[in-house]
């Protein structure tokens, strides 16, 4: 037990929690904005995977920032395409999203093979990574400065951007006209339509934003978290993000906190494998983040139901 604590109570552990949370945070924000508009983006996983590959392919032939920009453009376009199919062509958005994910898994291998002749990893492609950023003066704070800098400083720039994204989305959803439109479309599209909101356009915008956010998450995977692309490297993070959004009550800050919790479980998985004094089978450790997701999801929903019941009972009491 002590050994586990020794692993966890280090700045390195805190650093890795933030690092592994980054793609989940982006994915969660992508899930949040789309679900708020009533169009569930199930293709988060696929868009992240595609973006991870595109980041590698683009950055091999052009400056890294332009590569990131193009990746985001494509990711946004995939979001738009999902909207086109579900809103315009009236497809079942769940099945379409599942199909997108399938195409992404096979399609990225296909594209990678075409580009490099490799099928598993993109190590032969000379791709670039996005820079890390050091927070100045943080380690100068007395006492807590050094561990704090160890946890917070020297992250990939996209990690900081993920936190900026949470703040921007909070502002967007709650403080802007567009956010109000998105929320009302998601709550009740007919009512929104009746007051003159263009429901389709709002849903398109939400899905495009969602796609771009997933694009950031995917780009982080191959241009920050790792410096290459490998098959199916997103490994369920997109789905975990959907769960995080559900548990976070489809709010930016709630989703962010849950995403951090999943990041914690993920980092735990990595640390526990290093602990030698207790022999926990590695498969059972790998199971933890997913188990935590299900349990968290269920607890959150039970709590939500209880609250709803309480409010209902209160109203009934009042009516008497």
């Amino acid at each position: 037990m002590m050994e586990i604590l020794n692993h966890i109570l280090t700045p390195e552990f805190g650093y890795s929690v933030i690092r592994v949370s980054t793609p989940i945070v982006f994915g969660t924000m992508g899930a949040m904005i789309s679900s708020r508009a009533g169009v569930f983006n199930i293709a988060i996983e696929g868009i992240m995977l595609l973006s991870a590959l595109l980041g590698v392919l683009f950055s091999a032939v052009m400056p890294v920032w332009i590569a990131l920009f193009l990746t985001l453009v494509v990711a946004g376009f995939v979001g738009f395409l999902l909207g086109f199919l579900s809103i315009k062509l009236k497809s079942d958005i769940f099945l379409t999203g599942i199909a997108f994910n399938m195409i992404a898994v096979g399609g990225t291998i296909f594209l990678l093979y075409l580009a490099s002749g490799q099928k598993g990893v993109s190590t032969s492609i000379n791709s670039k990574v996005l820079p890390r950023v050091e927070i100045p003066l943080l380690d100068k704070i007395p006492w807590i400065g050094e561990p704090l800098a160890g946890i917070l400083s020297n992250h990939n720039i996209l990690t900081y951007l993920s936190i900026v994204a949470v703040i921007v989305l909070y502002y967007l959803v709650y403080k802007t006209a567009l956010g109000l439109r998105i929320r009302s479309v998601g709550e009740n599209p007919d009512a929104a339509e009746s007051v003159g909101i263009n429901v389709r356009k709002t849903q398109y915008i939400a899905l495009i934003i969602s796609g771009v956010l997933c694009g950031f998450g995917g780009a982080f995977m191959s241009m920050g978290y790792l410096s290459w692309f490998s098959n199916n490297m997103v490994a369920g993070r997109g789905f975990i993000a959907m769960a995080a959004n559900g548990m976070g009550g489809a709010t930016p800050v709630g989703g962010f906190l849950v995403a951090l919790f999943f990041g914690f479980a993920d980092a735990m998985t990595n640390s526990l494998q290093l602990v030698t004094s207790i022999k926990i089978p590695v498969q059972l450790i790998q199971m933890l983040p997913y188990l935590a997701t299900v349990i968290g999801l269920v607890l959150y929903n039970i709590n939500k139901r209880r609250k709803a019941m309480r409010i209902k009972l209160m109203l009934e009491d009042k009516n008497k």
């Binding site: 399609g107 093979y113 188990l291 269920v298 929903n301």
Partner: protein, 357 residues
């Protein structure tokens, strides 16, 4: 045949046609020898008994998971745990095969039933959580797949791994567990009959019994079913149990028919394939074998193509299948044509009626 069914057939064929068209374009763009690639893709599976055998061998699990997904989705649940149920059904079948010696036939039968029960339990969990707590069945079933995979791997590596196998695999299955080969020279096994019987029973269950009718009713309109006094939750669970049972059985059949040891080091993916098959079959068990055969055929063709000198990776099939699903579920795809067709029909009928007067 009514106009609607006719139109659906036309639409499905158009979807397949367009998807194949896209694949053709990709092949021509990619390959140095596109003609060879096309020949391998479309006629490769017919060139030898062994290759055609591969198609049928692949059709068997696809029929089973396609049927399972059709049943699970029929009550309106987007429950994606077929994958986990198939895998874990295989794990349970392996445990029975290796841990409990039994006489022939009975051994496989016992393993199959236990695998089925496991599958039924697994698939019921997300639907149960959805009803009782309101948690999205999509998310919980996806997470469940990962949990089952790691749990299954743990059971495999810690209790049934054969250290002499050289790979991560279980001990050899006893002969009492294995299904016999049906066609010499291929690996087509008696599981083919089992899968076709399941399809038949699944069709009877879903379309010829009152329970099946209720399940489809709940799937079509949950609120309406509730107001007519149906026990929606019970009916939904029933469809999950039956579908999950079939998925679990599928894992057992696949192991007993195709493998000497358990060696799945990743989720085998048949559960996802089941979604493709079921979508293509419009959720009707009777069409499932045809859809499964079609998917198995293009997959085998794609594998043969990638082994040849054409240099087209087999992952092309993922793009083809994805496009097919997208087009089939797009309700407005060809809707203009449908409207035109209906308009023409009614105009003709009106004219006819006018002529009679």
């Amino acid at each position: 045949m009514n106009k609607n069914a006719k139109f659906e057939i036309l639409r499905t064929s158009m979807a397949i046609f367009i998807a194949i068209g896209i694949s053709l374009v990709l092949i021509i763009l990619v390959s140095d020898a596109p003609l060879v690639a096309l020949r391998d893709l479309f006629f490769g599976p017919l060139t030898s008994l062994r290759r055609f055998g591969n198609v049928i061998e692949l059709t068997i699990p696809l029929i089973i998971t396609g049927l399972a997904v059709s049943l699970i989705f029929s009550s309106g649940q987007i429950n994606l745990s077929t994958e986990g149920a198939f895998f874990f059904g295989g794990i349970v079948a392996m445990m029975v095969a290796l841990a409990i010696p039994m006489p022939s036939y009975i051994h496989f039968f016992a393993a199959m039933i236990l695998a089925g029960i496991t599958g039924a339990i697994v698939v019921t969990i997300p639907a149960y959580l959805k009803e009782k707590t309101g948690s999205s069945e999509i998310v919980s079933s996806l997470m469940l797949n990962y949990i089952l995979f790691f749990l299954g791997s743990y059971i495999l590596y810690y209790y049934f791994k054969d250290p002499e196998a050289g790979i991560n695999a279980s001990y050899l299955f006893p002969d009492t567990f294995r299904l016999s080969v049906l066609v010499p020279g291929t690996k087509i096994h008696t599981g083919l009959f089992l899968s076709l019987i399941s399809v038949f029973l699944g069709y009877i269950f879903l379309f010829k019994t009152s329970t099946g009718y209720k399940i489809r009713m709940v799937g079509a309109n949950k609120m309406f079913s509730k107001y007519t006094g149906m026990k929606v939750f019970k009916i939904t669970l029933l469809s999950q149990i039956v579908g999950g049972f079939i998925a679990g059985v599928g894992g057992a059949i696949q192991l007993a028919g195709m493998y000497k040891r358990f060696n799945w080091v990743a989720l085998p993916g048949y559960g996802w394939d089941g979604i493709i098959v079921s979508t293509l079959a419009k959720g009707n068990p009777l069409y499932v074998p045809f859809a499964a055969f079609f998917i198995a055929y293009i997959r085998t063709g794609a594998a043969i193509m990638s082994r040849g000198e054409s240099g087209v990776p087999p992952e092309l099939k993922a793009i083809t299948q994805g496009v097919i699903i997208i087009l089939i579920v797009a309700q407005q795809f060809l809707a203009k044509y449908k409207n035109k067709m209906i308009y023409k029909e009614s105009k003709l009928e009106i004219e006819k009626a006018g002529g009679d007067q």
